[in-house]
């Protein structure tokens, strides 16, 4: 299978409308006929990443690669970066404002959820420059 590459811009600023990119990706993965559990895990990872990008970085870009054996999702932003990644990975740690909490997010579950549902996760971040969170979800053969 040839690698399928998908790119989704993530609009910043409007948390109420966030999630559109994840919905589109989910639809595409369904059309590709991937296993339901793989689609679910990839969609949750991207959705949490998308919410994070809108809350913390005023948007960015999601790049998705679908190979025969795995899905790779790169969430790239030019936001403030993460000063302490270990702290950010702790469930319950959050720097989000009250707007995020009013929508049912912003309680420090985003990155831990992405880790929970992926097979591999890396965070490349530079304070003042931006963050790229990459997750990989394996496709059972």
């Amino acid at each position: 299978m040839e690698t399928i590459k998908l790119v989704y811009p993530v609009e910043g600023g409007d948390l109420i409308e966030a999630g559109e990119a994840s919905s589109k990706m989910k639809l595409t993965l369904k059309k590709l006929g991937l296993p339901q559990d793989v689609i679910r895990r990839a969609s949750i990872c991207m959705y949490e990443g998308e919410i994070n990008m809108v809350i913390h970085a005023d948007g960015g870009e999601a790049q998705v690669e679908v190979d025969s054996d795995q899905i790779t999702i790169r969430m790239m932003d030019s936001g403030p970066g993460i000063p302490n990644v270990d702290q950010a990975m702790q469930e319950g740690f959050s720097t989000a404002d009250s707007t995020a909490r009013e929508l049912g997010f912003g309680a420090g579950m985003g990155l831990p959820n992405m880790k929970r549902y992926s097979d591999e996760m890396t965070i490349d971040t530079v304070v003042g420059t931006g963050t790229t969170v990459t997750v990989k979800i394996k496709i059972p053969q």
Binding site: L15, K26, Q36, Y47, L103, G104, M109, N113, R116
Partner: protein, 118 residues
């Protein structure tokens, strides 16, 4: 349990999906915290929530839910109902409060499908 039975038990009003009340569901969950729904829900096709915003629908869609019930008599805006319709998710509103709504459904046989580890 059929969605039509849930509607009766909770004295709910269907805001979208009246023609889909013959769907059968085996479990449900209740939460106002969408990150918890994303973290812990698996094979729980019904969401009871007091939170009213589009992210409720998007979250339910991500975890393959087929019905959202807004408790405490909350009525979502047309944009939220439309979003659910596009995703084929039945929307109801019930005057019951969260604790009572969950308790009534559990008492009538709709379990949480939790394995105790989550």
């Amino acid at each position: 349990m059929l969605l039509s039975e849930i509607k009766e038990i909770l004295n709910a009003t269907v805001l979208w999906g009246e023609e889909h009340l013959d769907r059968e569901v085996m479990s449900a969950c209740g939460s106002d915290f969408m990150s918890d729904v994303l973290a812990y829900v698996k094979n729980q096709p019904v969401l009871l929530t007091g939170l009213v915003n589009p992210q409720v629908v998007r979250t339910a869609d991500m975890v393959e839910m087929c019905c959202i019930i807004f408790v405490r008599g909350k009525v979502p805006g047309e944009n939220i109902v439309k979003l659910a319709e596009e995703r084929n998710i039945v929307v109801m509103t019930s005057p019951k409060r969260m604790y009572e709504a969950c308790g009534l459904l559990y008492y009538n046989g709709l379990r949480g499908n939790c394995d105790g580890n989550d």
